[in-house]
Subunit: 473 residues, 4 copies
Amino acid sequence: MCGIVGLSGTNDAAALVSLMMQALQHRGQEAAGIISREVTENGTYFYQHRSPGLVGGSFSDEESMNKLYGNAALGHVRYSTAGPKHRNKAAQITDAQPLLHDGVALVHNGNLTNAKTLRKKLELDGVRFETEIDTEVIMQLIKVAPQEKLLKRLEYVFGIVEGAYSLIILSRKKLIGVCDPLGIRPLIFGRANGAYIFASETCAFDIIGGEVIDEVLPGEIVVVEDDKISRHRFAKKQTPRKCIFEYIYFSRPDSNWDGENMYLARSRLGSQLAREEIARDLDGEFFGDDLIVVPVLDSGFPTAIGYAHKTHSRFSPALVRNHYVGRSFIEPTQEKRNLKVLLKHNVNKALVRDKRVVLVDDSVVRGTTARSIVGLFRQAGVKEVHLRIASSPIMYECHHGIDTQEGELLSQGCDSIEEANERLKVASGADSAAYLSRENMIRAVRGGTKCDACFSGNYPTSLTDINFDESIV
Amino acid sequence: MCGIVGLSGTNDAAALVSLMMQALQHRGQEAAGIISREVTENGTYFYQHRSPGLVGGSFSDEESMNKLYGNAALGHVRYSTAGPKHRNKAAQITDAQPLLHDGVALVHNGNLTNAKTLRKKLELDGVRFETEIDTEVIMQLIKVAPQEKLLKRLEYVFGIVEGAYSLIILSRKKLIGVCDPLGIRPLIFGRANGAYIFASETCAFDIIGGEVIDEVLPGEIVVVEDDKISRHRFAKKQTPRKCIFEYIYFSRPDSNWDGENMYLARSRLGSQLAREEIARDLDGEFFGDDLIVVPVLDSGFPTAIGYAHKTHSRFSPALVRNHYVGRSFIEPTQEKRNLKVLLKHNVNKALVRDKRVVLVDDSVVRGTTARSIVGLFRQAGVKEVHLRIASSPIMYECHHGIDTQEGELLSQGCDSIEEANERLKVASGADSAAYLSRENMIRAVRGGTKCDACFSGNYPTSLTDINFDESIV
Amino acid sequence: MCGIVGLSGTNDAAALVSLMMQALQHRGQEAAGIISREVTENGTYFYQHRSPGLVGGSFSDEESMNKLYGNAALGHVRYSTAGPKHRNKAAQITDAQPLLHDGVALVHNGNLTNAKTLRKKLELDGVRFETEIDTEVIMQLIKVAPQEKLLKRLEYVFGIVEGAYSLIILSRKKLIGVCDPLGIRPLIFGRANGAYIFASETCAFDIIGGEVIDEVLPGEIVVVEDDKISRHRFAKKQTPRKCIFEYIYFSRPDSNWDGENMYLARSRLGSQLAREEIARDLDGEFFGDDLIVVPVLDSGFPTAIGYAHKTHSRFSPALVRNHYVGRSFIEPTQEKRNLKVLLKHNVNKALVRDKRVVLVDDSVVRGTTARSIVGLFRQAGVKEVHLRIASSPIMYECHHGIDTQEGELLSQGCDSIEEANERLKVASGADSAAYLSRENMIRAVRGGTKCDACFSGNYPTSLTDINFDESIV
Amino acid sequence: MCGIVGLSGTNDAAALVSLMMQALQHRGQEAAGIISREVTENGTYFYQHRSPGLVGGSFSDEESMNKLYGNAALGHVRYSTAGPKHRNKAAQITDAQPLLHDGVALVHNGNLTNAKTLRKKLELDGVRFETEIDTEVIMQLIKVAPQEKLLKRLEYVFGIVEGAYSLIILSRKKLIGVCDPLGIRPLIFGRANGAYIFASETCAFDIIGGEVIDEVLPGEIVVVEDDKISRHRFAKKQTPRKCIFEYIYFSRPDSNWDGENMYLARSRLGSQLAREEIARDLDGEFFGDDLIVVPVLDSGFPTAIGYAHKTHSRFSPALVRNHYVGRSFIEPTQEKRNLKVLLKHNVNKALVRDKRVVLVDDSVVRGTTARSIVGLFRQAGVKEVHLRIASSPIMYECHHGIDTQEGELLSQGCDSIEEANERLKVASGADSAAYLSRENMIRAVRGGTKCDACFSGNYPTSLTDINFDESIV
């Protein structure tokens, strides 16, 4: 996952882009980058600043920002999924976006499923790559496209690349937003302060008082030029396959996508989880007065509140977070992640002692934190601890941009939800564990059709690279 | 406010102190400092590292930490209250603690009420001060004390200084905790990893798996030497006057003090607020189905949950926080604070549109953020917005370490709670505003007697400096 | 109290009147009576049947009913308040209504406050009374009135009588409804099956599928003749003083009066009681999980449900009624009443053992059943039992038709609600007792102005008989 | 169904029995009878009083009661199930119990399944029957039994009769309680006022302040003689088959049987119904704020309260009962029943208008009242009306004493619960209808094994009479 923003039409371009990036910081904390464009009498100039870490670090530094001249800019926050060894070494700043080639700057959120194949072909054609990221494939394709006009070149490129891609492109004259034919990743456009803006989520509009016009629709190119907007469809209309994981975990709760609010979707996931719990509770004794509902970290809040509300149980945020440390899911290496769990959380013993605790979390990927968190509750003197997950078991790798790598997924290979529950119970050491059924998960997340490949294995794109035999080439 | 920790008896002294400081980060974010002590065959050495900003910054840096040798250490996180121009200029690193003089290191949480007077006297006696902080007065007094033994010198000093002080002192052989005769600020001691530890709050024990032995009692000196502990009373037993604001806002919710858990105290403050609301709700129509209870930021969570639970209203955390920016209350200048409100929060419109919103906050000091937050809700399309404060109007400056300066207090000079409510309503632009009565506030916060001077003006200490006429001297 | 009905314009007159009387049975169980009117070619005939006890007894007997010919009828269910020794001897059937004199039949609900005075005068004038009831005073006045036309005679009479009176009169040609100038007792009129109907409460309309047109307004005479209706005001418009006790206890919960539904009014009385309880509950510990809310008999249901709903406590009808015995309040002698309490109720021990019980009742008059009911709960093994009354202490005799006689009222002479609470606590043996404040009682009972004389002593009528010195005459 | 009581050892025998019968009045309202026994120096005498209708009628008459001399008595309240034309003609008083033959008086609750067969045989043997009830078969068998001692004769008889029988027998010296080998009908014994007592339900003990000793166990004879008690087993221990319908509907809510309280069992039936509802409520929208839970008559209260509590919906007793008319289920003819529905109930329109109403009833037998009640709600202006039944579809006739005759059962012949739901929906005209599943019904009703033959068709007794071919004999 990454977060992307673009803006054209106002003087503070880079500053506003920096603010929008802060609103999207949850989408990537490994690196951040801005490219601004200045149009002068003497020509058009691009300025770039890229830095590892949070936006709030180097980009709140006046000196750096003051050099990003111009009235248009792109921004990118990076969460390293692509690049072969991406989680085994420190992020390379050269791999950071935005990319800039020959007067075209570009930011990308998503993952191409034929990047490797295309790259090989391009390399055989003599193209020399500067980074290891799939985004550069798009960039190189734009360069080698036979057409002259940028819009035509883009249509050519998007006829070739496969996978999930939401892009914002800044050329000498234009600001362009693109969404892949299935609409897998979000991209929204609107206005703020007289400028046109693009961003991955609507929360980035709110931070600068912007207003949403619409989504960039699946298979659409939206072009801003001379303060005018035009929309171009480059692919036939298909059933969209919006990433369900954006609703479950990734997007910020105050963002909306496809007519649905993320908090409300998560709250309904919690309600569905509650509904399944009540139906299981044959003797009507699960929801006793000694039961409290505790969210697992911030991301578990909306689902736990939904669960507690539906069951009328006591909502009790007893897992306390040290707010001065970052988010667990997107840190680079496994080892560091474990250490941080202990540093980041404390169980408020006074709330949980002699209670039966229902721990509600939005999802389980690797399950690495589950055991340590359950352990924290045990040490705090709970009577029982029950783990409830407001989504289904993740059994398949995501090929569209989320860092859920095969081999690391706790539920991989499970034949049934019961097996996944049991595996989670064992892995976490909880007294019981239960996922939400896929049927009710989909019911809770309204709006258009979803890509639920990580739960079902039904990938909506051709996975060209997977079948790519390097030796053949 | 500040946070202090001390530890003696294990090799990782500085590393563990750094972790404990992270747990106390909410008590001060302006600067952090560690002094470690190494006892070698050649002598005893002290090492120091002080840095502005968060602990997680420079103190997670291996290089810096590796130089803090030894098996004992003190740590301090600083929230600038003392020093004459403390909120009008950037914090001076020279004013940062721990202080170290002649083999005695010291960290202090609290505020002396006769520091100015004592300093003047010492200066007239020829003592030269290196910092502007009141802590140095204690340090200089220890130096000039006529006694030989450190413990005796301390008893001498604490017979002279007035005000609120919790101290940890690290000498060549001892680790010492001291609490003022009224017990205004917390100081807890216990064990972890074979070492003795002191810290401002119990949450700092949890982060390293420590166990609490007891509080340093009011008027007590607790001495650790050669892995043995001894307790000495230096003042007569008085009715303690523990700071009520620690319960309301300052301490972390997972900390305990004087037998009371902070979250539970806050939850009860919310319940009392609810009880007063229900009693006011003459026609039984306030708590309609279109009413939601929204906490103001993280610190409002426990009270808002208590309020929603008592009234069975829907708890809805619709004010979203950008977690990548720090805490508003302890930033240095007023101007910056206002800007940050906008950057830090977003209202989730999908949750609040056409709702009646009860905004619950723990306390109001200056009231600077109230108007902007109410404004955010109005813009989000609410039907009504009602502000409810789970403590009483703050009408008096704190002279014991909390940054509530006269002239800035919204409720200063109010003759009644009704007047304070009205003033808050006007200041915030809310449809209604109500504080909790002092009677019920005190009822909710259990445990021993409290200092509620900021609410009542009943200061438990003599305010010598206030009446100090500099011209006389 | 009594219940009255009248009907004109359909063949089953007596049968329908009998049904309506069953709907009003709660207003009087001592005796029932019907007079029907048959208009034939040979003249107009009246038929009468009066019987002690319930309507369902003799009036469901076909033989009796078949003799009540005609297409108009009056019905009356009697609850003996008037007649000097009314509760010390068995009801005299000669005192039962309807009364019939010279082609005028009459039923009366209410109580005249100058009946005794007027009767003495009439007797001095040579009028001979056949019954001891105040209703006959009206009847005799109609006879002696100097006017010729019935409507004029009535206007004359209602210029003389004082007190509370809702009347239905059946003459040879007319059916007439009358309400006193203050509207103290209800009287409603409407249509059913092509006939015009009058009844004390709207529930009597429902039983035969009738529709309400309006109330007979205070100071109004409504005349039905030849299937036409005409309305005449006989007194100046005054602030109405509708009996608050109809809302609290007397009317059936499914009746409406003055735009207010009785169940909803009672439910709000329970909510107000709850509100006062919550405000009293300083430590927030009254409403624990071991607390159940139990209605005292059927009349306590709406208030107890309102109380339980507002406090979110468990509503638990643990006081079981043997439905085969009548209502306690309207039985004739004190002694019998006590015995019946034991026969009529049982406490469901399985529900209350080791619970804290909040017993909610609508009102307390004599307090005679309170002690025995509290005793039943004690024997059932409760932890505590708390008595809550959803109206204020009754401190004054009713002079307008309700059987609350001075000397029998538990709260008589109390100077404050606290004193009344204490007296009820002692009288009942409960762990605590509390009435609703008068202020909140009035708030809960919406609609027009009320007569609350039994609570306040503010009688809206002149109490001529009270000051009547018999010796003078 | 019937209710039976017996008592021995105190002077007021008949009066106390009469009170106990009032507590059991719900078990039968067609007739009541008492036989008392007086032991004098001159001999032992039996006195009898039997009367149609309620106990409260003739048995509260002093004159009648004063003639029932003696310190032992039996009582019976009758609900006519046996006797060939039992519901097509008025109850014959000669068929009323107790029966008395040759110094043995007997009351019976239950139904023999080989009575017809045995009677035929006895008649062929020359026995002349005086009544048409199966109880007389037992009486005649006792007479013709070859043994001498009564206890032995009884053991002989209970080796022959089949079916459900709880009996109390009063002989010249003994008071005896008997329960059939499967324990189908309840019979409890205990003490009160120094006497031994037997009764069908524990609520009859409460009315006279009695204490329960134990149940008469399945296959047991309990003999009281000379103030001593002895217990005799006459049949091998089998899995008991207690009638589930006692839990669902028949027993009073304040009675206990087999360790289970009836109210709590019904409340759990309502909870299970709620649980199934929540599980069905896929989109989480059924339980909106406009939904109210309304019990169908008194018997629906515990289940509706359980349902409302579990779903946290508003419990609203909007179906008002005219308490002066008896219980629908046990009235003799179908025609009368329909009329009474209308007379007995009124919907409180003010509570239900524009609401979605969930009508909760304990069970549906014929479904005759469902349509009229749903109709009442429609007329009252509801938005929707949903019928929920807290037990399973009754598909089979009861052969053990409950008046559920084949040919009249609404759900007879249904192949699934879905079909029964649909049939009920159509029959009632409700917007939806749902029964509780058999699995969850049984789960809710705790205690020992149940006879659920009316739901499952699994009869625990041999149904000899059913297969009895009269022509053969």
